[in-house]
Point group: C2
Chain length 338, copies 2
Amino acid sequence: MTNQQTDNSPTVGDIGEQGILNEILPLLDAKDAGLGPGDDAGALRVAGGEVVVSVDTIVQDQDFRLVWPSGHEHAAYDIGWKSIAQNVSDINAMGGVPTGAVISLSMPAEVSLAWAKEFASGIAAAISSLGAARLAILGGDLSRSSEISVTTTVLGECEYGKILRTGAKPGDRLAVAGRLGAAGAGLALLEGKHEATTWSRAVLRLADAQCKPTPPLESGPRAAQSGAHAMMDISDGLVRDAGRLAKASRVSIKLDKSALEVFAHRLEPAAKLLDFDPMQWVLHGGEDFGLLACFPTGVEIPEEFSVVGEVVPLTGRRSNVFLNGKQLDYRSGFDHFG
Amino acid sequence: MTNQQTDNSPTVGDIGEQGILNEILPLLDAKDAGLGPGDDAGALRVAGGEVVVSVDTIVQDQDFRLVWPSGHEHAAYDIGWKSIAQNVSDINAMGGVPTGAVISLSMPAEVSLAWAKEFASGIAAAISSLGAARLAILGGDLSRSSEISVTTTVLGECEYGKILRTGAKPGDRLAVAGRLGAAGAGLALLEGKHEATTWSRAVLRLADAQCKPTPPLESGPRAAQSGAHAMMDISDGLVRDAGRLAKASRVSIKLDKSALEVFAHRLEPAAKLLDFDPMQWVLHGGEDFGLLACFPTGVEIPEEFSVVGEVVPLTGRRSNVFLNGKQLDYRSGFDHFG
């Protein structure tokens, strides 16, 4: 496997489970949030009377490739980063702050120790760079498998209450925080035939959006504090996720295309290279892990949110998503098993 | 893959992610413990100021085989059961009660829907049969992969305080609750050449101990309430885990062979069939998920615990485990990458 085994690094099979832990745990800075690895279970101090919890798995050749068709290598550091990013995003989307995590890493015995350490460094970097200052690693598990697979569980607290998908009301303004379409454009670049070695810096930044996403942490709690009625993160594309929110809230949603143009404009470097309509990435690209929130009229929307539409009453029995009056099929899009 | 695809059942690839969830979620009885699946994160109400949390992954052909060399099939039901059993065991080993779980299931698209439903039934059955009455399924994740892999994260509460590995004191009595060696004997049977179809009921029960372990829930909190100094579950074998506890507490441990004979006696059906010394399973067999606890003198040890040794001071610089005065190498034994 390319980039897993380097000449001077022992494999994880060479040094065994305890050996790996001895190398990795020092990279995952312990925080005084409870009890970290070493016992049967970790422990997390909880201020409120509730914890929120989310789990996600990323699997080699399904959710990432070690080497993409474009030749771009998905660094172990970025895989560690993404495993944290997509889960803290789920906590952010509830209006919460991530406070603890456990991580399970499965990998073949031939993976190099250097790879495993880089992976752990990516975890630590995501925690500090994304602003998850309270997030403590509470424990984990190492397993052997035929492909690399990472399951991350993150716990959090919602100081301003949990914001669900079910609370959207007709009249609410629909707003997004974070990027739209950047990770989708990045995926198209990574899976495309244009050699990564020829990419401009602007193009490379879009590929990075896929490999190393940056969810807008702090915007979730801020939206909750502002009185958002409903919220979720955009992991499977704006249209699909807006449709889910609409369905959960029994409303319909109208998107305003002109408000989305600014996001499409930022994708021009990739759109030109691939001769593709960038608005399709804005509407259907996933994994930016931005926020989609519904704010009642009269509240001040936090400045990092852009209004991109409104919540309207159901017209028939089913929730719909409209773009400038035209109905979209929000049920299409990515399905792990479809 | 044997037993994953049956003639009349669609595959998980046929029905897609939402289709699988629609079939599985009704099998996982929701409890009024917080917020279940449906939003970005689940939520769990927490009585105390702390949650304990543990994660474990089991991987096809590493931790279980769909069909063992003996011909015994590892039912999907049992795989669901084991994924719960080994994690509630970790909470039990802290002296806690499991209150919430998230489950991530990765599988090939060719797996039958019937398999996935049986897996979910095994989860539900373990929760009710093992006595984890408060355990609520808070969420999960479905991913596609080339092999079946299950990562379970369980949260819990420790009403009587957390019991760690570090608290053992010279003079403590060492006691175990639950089975010793049964899952190890079962593994030897499953991996052996004796056809499963020829097994007696007594032999089959030992194979079941490996496929469908039964950790002694409630014994953990009871040990904590009784004042246990230290505790852990026995997942990698008595000697190895006693060594870990000794090392964490900076003590040595003396095991009493005569006290272990009663456990060995129960393994006779398998020992005769395989012509093997059953004491080896008692000392080194893992995955029974029994408890190993250290009780100070003077406290009443809960009746389901059997005293099997004592805690003694360090004689040199390193912790040791002794059996009737003979030093054992507790560092040998199972390693995922060894």
